[in-house]
Assembly symmetry: none
Homo-oligomer: 177 residues x 4
DNA sequence: ACCTCCGGGACCCCCCGTTTCT
DNA sequence: AGAAACGGGGGGTCCCGGAGGT
């Protein structure tokens, strides 16, 4: 078995579980089973659950740049993507990122490795939005609104009227997107 | 002991714990102790944790109208309040509402009493913003941004530059607030 | 409200719950609700669950003689009745008696009021069987077999082949029933 | 510590508690303590209480065959053993089997692992009786009577007159035992 | 005398992230 | 890396007591 092919297999399994079952209830045991590893084996690679989640988010971060480039070369806008309601087209990247957050034990989570990893990805996206939207204030608004959309979805609150949502996007990105 | 003063005492204790300790880790026992009630006593009034949290949110909802009126009579704007970063002035109402959410066990939480209560308060605020901001699209943007702000705070992510945040508010509310 | 109509209403409710839901899981609350009494009200009449069950069994005992007479005048045999498998025709009397037993918290139950009440009814039936079956040894066998039948049913074990069961009854009662 | 000696140690502890204290009130914690295992350790081996009890009954079942052979080689009869009143000679096997039953939470217990295990042992004994008593009707009667005896004992009802009981056995087994 | 509201407390089963031994 | 074991709650259930109305 290659050095740390296992590591990736575990993260793959984690992604799978995060996407398929209730993100908030994913357990180490579940992930280990899905990765065909013993719980001990999992803990060998990631000393704690927090570390495992953080590693996932970091892997996501590693892909973020490529993502951004891809978006641009594909002519599509990061901002549009960021403002989607999750059910619209839930790109795996975004869904995973959000699921990882949802699986944090304690949402406020002071000083956790995970929080730092999340903060880093957030920074990356923020920068991406900043590069795409020249006006920094507008970029920040887009970012906040995107987070707000995700937050509602996370809570299972009723999604706003699609028509209204479309207009929101238009208003936010019409001039700059 | 007076009629159902206890019920309120429990909710008061719940508020206290929610505000003082990690909202996500508040336990029934902890609340019961803070309310000088046995766990059994607590469970008499609220058959489950979910029910207790929902009751808190509903109590918040009952105060929401008064809040809105107060804001208006005080000449201050609901929108401004909604866009504050939590640490700025952490009005108990808003903080509590958000903490209650943070204490949900399973964030996706289908079919929970709490989620419904939250949805209702959300609706109230949404309407409040709608009444204050004539343009519905703008109102929705403000709402989403407010949720985004809270979400970041919930995760313990670094707060944005205050200056930028000020400008965001200005941009969002300048024309309509 | 008449003297102790309530007492009887409670026992009626108890019977109803015992027959309709899983006898082993009937709770005071459930019974109280079915009797339109508060839990405290129930406890006023019966100081404990055991006492309540015992009262039920005693009420059953009070009816036992009448039952026996009825059986004889109807030309049917107590023994046949006693050997029925519960699903066959589960006369309320028998079902209730057995359900009461099933609802004992601790089946071994040393020194409980209920146990004594049960013992008394058992004695009554034993005597009834003794009067019907002249041979005391045969009467005892019938009694034991009847208890064995009930026991299996109580455990949810598969019921024996009906044909075999019919033959058992024939063998046991053929000569004397 | 050897492989899964612990598993057996837990079942041993369970047996001990079942025999020594009120079978219906044996708790996981109690068993864990008696086995010198933590609660978590116990749950590692048996995912639920029901599973633990079922494992015990299955272990009993594994011994049942040996038992039957032993009985036969010792020239004693299974039927006699089965008809004994528990206090007479309370063979551990029988007592345990019965205690396990007594500890079922909900006696009707649909679809429980335990119930199935019990049904299996019951079948083994039934077959043993069938092999020993040529007449199937008679075998069934013996089985039912044996269950009835146990049932009375389980309830703590007064044991019948020993003399009568002796005659019952004689009658039931005289011709075939 | 009858009954209700409000609680109390003991436990129960189970979960889950981790450490320890091999 | 796997198997085994740990231990600290977590939420929830249930039988019951007691103060006080009517």
């Amino acid at each position: 078995m290659a050095a740390s092919e296992t590591r990736d297999r575990i993260l793959d399994a984690l992604e799978q579980r995060l996407l398929q079952s209730n993100p908030a209830t994913v357990t180490l045991e579940e992930v280990a089973a899905a990765a065909n590893v013993s719980k001990g084996g999992l803990l060998y690679h990631f000393p704690s659950k927090d570390a495992m989640l953080a590693a996932l988010v970091r892997r996501l971060a590693d892909r973020a740049e490529a993502q951004l480039a891809e978006f641009r070369s594909a002519g599509s806008s990061l901002a549009h993507w960021y403002l989607q309601t999750p059910n619209e087209n839930d790109e795996a990247e975004l869904a995973l990122y959000r699921s990882a957050i949802a699986s944090m034990r304690t949402l406020d989570s002071q000083a956790s490795e995970l929080r730092e990893a999340v903060a880093e990805v957030m920074r990356t996206w923020k920068e991406g939005l900043g590069a795409e939207i020249s006006d920094p204030v507008q970029a920040e608004i887009v970012r906040l609104a995107g987070d707000g959309i995700f937050f509602s979805a996370l809570l299972g609150l009723p999604q706003p009227d699609p028509e209204l949502h479309r207009k929101v996007i238009e208003r936010l990105l019409g001039a700059s997107g």
